[in-house]
Symmetry: C2
Subunit: 402 residues, 2 copies
Amino acid sequence: MSALPLSGVKVIDLTRILSGPFCSMILGDLGADVIKIEAPGGDSVRKQGHMVEGLSWYFAGFNRNKRSMELNLRAPEGIAVLEHLLADADILTENFRPGTLEKMGLTEAHLEQINPDLIVVSVNGYGSTGPYADRPAFDFIAQAMSGYMATNGTPETGPLRTAPPITDLVAGLYAALGAVAALRGREQGGPAQRVEASMMMSMMSMLAYLSSNALATGRDPVPTGNDHPIASPYGLFRASDGDIAVAPSTEVIVRRFLAELGLEHLLSDPRFETNALRLNNRVALNALIDAALADGTQDDWIARLNRAGVPCGRVQSLTEALTDPQVAAQDMVLRVPHPGRGSVGMTGFPIKFSQTPLGVRHPTPELGAQGPEILRATGYSEAQIATLIARGVLGNGNEPVG
Amino acid sequence: MSALPLSGVKVIDLTRILSGPFCSMILGDLGADVIKIEAPGGDSVRKQGHMVEGLSWYFAGFNRNKRSMELNLRAPEGIAVLEHLLADADILTENFRPGTLEKMGLTEAHLEQINPDLIVVSVNGYGSTGPYADRPAFDFIAQAMSGYMATNGTPETGPLRTAPPITDLVAGLYAALGAVAALRGREQGGPAQRVEASMMMSMMSMLAYLSSNALATGRDPVPTGNDHPIASPYGLFRASDGDIAVAPSTEVIVRRFLAELGLEHLLSDPRFETNALRLNNRVALNALIDAALADGTQDDWIARLNRAGVPCGRVQSLTEALTDPQVAAQDMVLRVPHPGRGSVGMTGFPIKFSQTPLGVRHPTPELGAQGPEILRATGYSEAQIATLIARGVLGNGNEPVG
């Protein structure tokens, strides 16, 4: 097998919680050597979510393909270790509040001195400039501030938070993309530079035609829940044993959909001849469609309609999705053997590479487990390492630091 | 200014609608030369969404930093032009249904023959292998199938589609990341390879602790709307002139929040001493918080609480978000002068590079406007170009093809 896309890249990772660790995990998944520097006691997510054999599967799902070093960065010796590691790193990732790195002494000038080739990647809430730069960040707030919540929901619910921490994840994904792009630029003769993505701005870039239309008209969209604001038929319809989601995207596909149901004649009914008419008469049309669907099961209709080129599917619960045969075929649920913790479930790799498929090279590390070996490999003597451990600066992977 | 991160990279872009054009726009934003090949009549999104001076701002927002060539790929001469362009390209992007490229004669073997260094990037609905590979894709269906819809909403609404076409966008973003990573790998001596991201699998990777917990327990999450399933206080609270969103992420921050409200004593009230107790007594606690907030405005409380380190903010409508001062400071709304179409509004660049800031180098192209000049630059004679136009294979940027 060929080397992975980011093979040979060294990442020093100061991130914790979610947005930053997602970014650095993606870099690790792509082949980088990611050294996760954890404060004494470790990333707080180690203790969050459902635990199995003492391991948080939530933490595990965001920290595979990393090695862990437990390091006290409040001690000057800890900063010295970090600076030593940064001297030959390619990328530093961090998701502190803007200004925190500088307070640790890692100013732009000092980092440039330590390693002029270092790319510094930051994930934060609002960006490092502007009136909200200093505000503490949290997904729920970024969902609210970005206008996303106001588009999610129904007229009855009003603005609605979405359950996954989507702004953390989208910002982490943009930051990973920025990191790889900056690396490529540097390797082709461009500058080593700072890269930043924020939760609020990342989410604002994901509002697609909602923001285009709002900018063009000055008007806000009305949340429409499962109905499409400008397409009919579209939505959830009722087969004999449950709902199916159907989304005919063009007039041609609307015709195919109705033809499969034996309802093609509706397209010459004055109520339903055009999309605009069908929007006005949505309730009547949907009732006719539901009646036609009642003689077949979800599975029957989903197979038939997909064969006819009509996008449709089941509204799956999360556990249904996780056991879906397509998900299995795409290796999107992994069971990763973890020494002493059993086999850990996590979602897989959404980017598929034909020649260098991604995999779990390191299971999620125990807190500080690789700290001593990492220092050994970068020239620290056994005596130096022992001193750092004895002074409570470095974790040994077994006992708590300090 | 230094060269952009993807400067010198040539992308031949066969994508249309949304997921693929988002991917190729990101590559263009990062500095690649993106040649958008459009079928006669153009990308259907050119006619969707709100039009201003004849231009769809939705289309404009997904196709800046590209040049357009209108080319009939149903004609053998059109395929010959495409093959000529691919011969010295770095990346081919496409979002057809799996197998379509092959039906056009662009099999893996043939592409390898044309250009062994070509990276082929595909965005699709479900992945190119597995039982659903041939199904037509659509965002609503991918939201439904991935389990995402089942986590969005409230117990009253049931599974709820989210308004932005989030699965298109997340898949496009992953595909762009995969493209840049594969390019970097190739430039460092790795293989030119195929890269793929699908809407369903990309969305499945974004469910974070919801999927971790579902895998660990075998149980589905219950949609909780704006309440956090495992944290209290958290959610929307009522200031004198409207709601504020508050998300204290740790016990320390819960204490700061209540202290700012003069309610710190509640933490020694037997109903509210721990997060578990507060979850059980959420209604009572929220009422006490609302009462304390009633003596200040949204703006007052948001400023005060943020200063105290408590993540909070306003639930902004989309037009409020688009005119937010932080959004302005981050240049997240652009007004791009477009010849003959006025100044076009679109969201900006969520990735910030310190040395090579991104910008709009090409406004969204008119259909086919750069086709002739692109061919001229790659060695086609004026006579050859005129013949292609006369035969209805190539658009001239003015009249319809064919």
